[in-house]
Symmetry: C2
Subunit: 276 residues, 2 copies
Amino acid sequence: MTQSQLIAQIKKKQSFLCVGLDADLDKLPRHIAEGPEPLFHFCRKIIDATAPFAVAYKPNIAFFEAYGIEGWQALEKTISYLNTNYPEVFTIADAKRGDIGNTATRYAKAFFEQLAFDAITVAPYMGKDSVEPFLAFENNYTILLALTSNQGAEDFQYHTQDGERLFETVLQRSQSWSGAKERLFYVVGATQAEALTDIRKQVPNAFLLVPGVGAQGGSLDAVAHYGLNDQCGLLVNSSRGIIYASQGEDFESAAKDAAEELQLQMKKWLTKKGIF
Amino acid sequence: MTQSQLIAQIKKKQSFLCVGLDADLDKLPRHIAEGPEPLFHFCRKIIDATAPFAVAYKPNIAFFEAYGIEGWQALEKTISYLNTNYPEVFTIADAKRGDIGNTATRYAKAFFEQLAFDAITVAPYMGKDSVEPFLAFENNYTILLALTSNQGAEDFQYHTQDGERLFETVLQRSQSWSGAKERLFYVVGATQAEALTDIRKQVPNAFLLVPGVGAQGGSLDAVAHYGLNDQCGLLVNSSRGIIYASQGEDFESAAKDAAEELQLQMKKWLTKKGIF
């Protein structure tokens, strides 16, 4: 899908919510975990329950990969279910891949062609020739890690040369890469909301994928305040706060309620900023 | 396997060669590509042809992942073939994963438990809490990207704070992480041989996985000169130079010859440095 379709959907659903599908067998409601194809069935039910409030879904690839071939089958079914039943939503493979040239192209083909995701998360450490092969896919989006929401973000991402922090160097350099203006998004953790002001100066128009709201302690209000641009420009992700809102038989309605609560907050911000 | 078993095998085979299994369907000999299970059969034949000269194998996960479930089946068969028939070799999943906490643990389980690799390559950008979950597996090894062999390495890895380049900060900080002294290796590209002197000052005892010899232009002599320590401390990888030495029906003998040629050079260096 295109960015303008994404923006149209944000306006229609009055939401910039991304639901993270971190489907962990150990945390699923028992009646799902003990049934057939638990990973797929859990994801399917979460998707159905939250789709009115979400514009994007982000399966976390590790949780599928951990189960080998069975896990890949569940991932294939999940993305195929999304593409068939909710073609209007934006789909993100949270894979954080990073490798060069031909290898990167192989990863891109796996996620963009084989699985038909709209976007993939990619790590920047190896530089330009590890990211441009993803950007070369003209109908897809690459979401580059800039400033992450975890504690370890401080280890290297704040490494400072001539007053410029590494995550700022990543933003600045990557903007010149082929395809970046049209197809490069960034990951910025919600726990780093105060840095969003600086980030918006560097990439005023880019979409930012923001994890870390909820369980990790990030504030949606702070993220919206510092991060929204006049086309929205944000996808705020919540995983555990929605998908494990209840781990009992009522998990679907609990997930729906948690998603709706976030959507209502988002609607306020979209209204306040005049994005309709 | 343990590090001392790896070192014993290096001494026995008089080699520190790692063969990179970048099995690309488009480059396989035609009679293999057109036969059943081409990825697995190609890898199996390369392994059989080169095992007398190699101490490690490194399947490049992207090349398998690109083919979805079929690719995972080929990967499972390849690692299982290695573990069954060549239990003495060191196996590396070249996956360059990097994610936090529970997600990292899931990746570790996928590669260390589900697939039973000895080691995995990991990216450092997200910091300590993205690497320690891998290091927590006491019978496995984590190979952290430090200075890579590609051109894009210059984009961020040389970012310099107070005279310290980012790859040096990665080496220095990561040494303090839990399990690092025993189980943390590093990736250092062969094209960066002159930096090996500085790297050896920081991590005199760590094993270094060195890609980039051959097709990428790195010199084995320079790598051995600057990188060997008194326990060897190197695994030098060659992929294309061995596995595609011939793309005809004689690919096995061509791969054998290419591997043997590198092993003979390695033997000279091991002798010169008195590592027997």
